[in-house]
Symmetry: C2
DNA sequence: GTTCTTGTTGGTCATCTGTGTCCCACGTCC
DNA sequence: GGACGTGGGACACAGATGACCAACAAGAAC
């Protein structure tokens, strides 16, 4: 157990050697030639005293803190941030790094976010992860450039910073594909109204998937609303009121799908008997708990957090050149999570 | 903007004074007598060079890092952890402290949690917050005692560590009270099966509230299941199948309430017309998005995080003696959040 | 047998970036 | 001319690291 009051000096005295020797044996430096007996003396003395290295002093000397800064938007409003943090934490822990977390708001001023980054820089973090709550184009504080940094779940407005984002296109294709595969030919899309990459890319994937399947993708029904439960409800009411009522529904996210469930229930449509539904996000609290369970597409938050951390550490340790990766964002897959909301359409 | 490469030494050279003087000026030490002109020279030099203090070196010298360690259980599985972190982050930021976060698992071995705490100690955090995912009795690693620590959302098995927990009793009373107030006389409770304080305390509060209202608390119907949506569904099916079917239902948490909603829908009971429901937790994703919105009791996670941080910093700065507060856990209120799931019973 | 080389084993000292105590130089005032 | 006030610098210290140096014994050269 690390004891705050014991330093390398105390160990040296206890073992009857110099502090240098203690440092050498404890760090197992290759060039140090030290007799096995001395090694043992030092090690057991350290053990007995409960010596733990003072990482601050180490960091000061070596110019490496072994700490990564993570500025995360809106830590508490979605479970997404939690999964990014978890991925980052586990990747960091596995390589002996720690995480300093600062919360910021998606709507915070550039200046306040600059101050957040500055707080991390003053503490001499080795690198910085900048995570946003949802995939978008984000303006980054300039001081982020002074240490290796990776952007999680967004791309930078100015470009040229390494970023990792979800595969919107592939995810949407998987979702629509699951409906087509089940045999649906009348498929609708309930979309978001925000101007974010996901809105555009999912819509486009929706249309091309239908077209590729020999259906008229351009004519397929699409209704847009705010990406909340009530928006999903409204949009679903409209889309299900059409004469050529779709038998398959792709929803922008799980919350909107939850709204669609209610709309279907009100119209007396059973899921998946009368209507198949597929969502996006895999918010477990919703997707797994709806009845029937919602088939949806998982956003790779954990994986993005881990990927970003892994590569950030590589960069810190000089194993990678981040500027090379900065040209294009890295895209991580969005796997389909099958539950029970898709069935073949009634004949 | 903090520039990593600029030290106090560079400022001293630029201003034509000694490093001591720079330190004195920048820290505004009271005993230093320095002419206004020198002050200005130093300050503008620091400004120009983009000097930022090296918190590591400061910490090494002053034996204060200004960092708090937060070990949090299961960061990603519930939104609860996020709210604790947010409360802690904002309280810490307000007082100039930073947060080092380590994730652990509720089921992790004592040894691995000891290692987590050790990682924080090696980094010489000034204090530690230990947050659990739900209110219970937790066994803490012994090395937690070596710096000031506060336990969030649990009490320690051994006792004698300052802790802050939610007011289970008061919250449950508020929930049941809301049903009684609306005029319900046949009220049931859907409880959890886990052996945690909340299970016992909410049950007891339920019974005493009824009794205090002149009803037969001991005879009131209670059904227990696992605290998930499907458990809530099962329990609700049973409780609603009784001859003296309750018109008001208190659910152990929002997830179980969600299950109760489905059971009610299947039985053709409308909420709140035929059945009033009240939950616990205020998981927004569920409570706000059910239809009708679920009246529930909010767990003060943000407040507990903030309270714990505030008092931890007080202890670190010698303004409080934590051992005095360790005698009894501090209890924070659980306010009722009114939505639309409670109405008067049909006459 | 004495000095020199060489390998072994560890220690010395500067360094990382600041902080804080103590001390010094210089004027002034009675 | 000694006490005192003012402005600022020297220096030790916090806890480590690492390049380089030193002591010593064994064997080699003379």
């Amino acid at each position: 157990m690390t004891n705050k009051n014991i330093g390398i000096k105390d160990v040296a005295v206890a073992a009857g050697v110099s502090v240098t020797t203690v440092s050498h044996v404890l760090n197992e430096v290759s060039y140090a030639r030290i007799s096995p007996e001395t090694r043992d003396k030092v090690k057991s003395a350290a053990e007995q005293l409960g010596y733990g290295p003072n990482r601050l002093a180490q960091a000061l000397r070596t110019q490496r803190t072994g700490m990564l800064g993570l500025v995360s938007e809106d830590i508490a409003t979605t479970p997404h941030a939690g999964r990014i943090i978890l991925g980052a934490d586990e990747a960091a822990k596995a390589r002996g790094y720690g995480l300093m977390i600062i919360n910021t708001s998606g709507s915070a001023s550039l200046e306040s976010r600059r101050a957040d980054v500055d707080a991390l820089l003053e503490r001499r973090v080795d690198g910085i992860l900048y995570a946003t709550m949802y995939h978008r184009n984000v303006e980054l504080p300039a001081n982020l450039g002074s240490v290796p940094s990776v952007l999680v779940d967004s791309v930078a407005k100015g470009g040229n910073i390494t970023a990792v984002i979800p595969d919107e296109d592939g995810g949407a294709r998987a979702a629509v594909g699951a409906l087509l595969e089940a045999g649906h030919t009348r498929v609708g899309f309930i979309n978001n109204t925000d101007d974010v990459p996901a809105t555009r890319e999912r819509l486009q994937a929706f249309r091309t998937m239908l077209t590729e399947a020999g259906l008229d993708g351009d004519a397929a029904p699409v209704e847009s609303e705010v990406s909340e439960v009530h928006g999903g409800y409204e949009a679903a009411r409209r889309i299900l009121a059409r004469e050529d009522r779709p038998t398959g529904l792709f929803c922008y996210n799980d919350r909107m799908a939850m709204g669609a469930y209610r709309a279907a229930a009100e119209l007396g449509l059973s899921i998946p008997g009368d209507l198949s539904v597929v969502g996006f996000d895999d918010q477990e609290l919703i997707a797994a708990n709806l009845h029937p369970g919602l088939t949806t597409v998982a956003l790779p938050h954990y994986e993005m957090g881990a990927w970003a951390t892994e590569h950030l550490i590589d960069a810190v340790e000089g194993k990678t050149d981040l500027t090379l990766m900065a040209l294009h964002p890295t895209i991580l897959g969005c796997p389909l999570v099958r539950r029970d909301s898709i069935a073949a359409p009634r004949p």
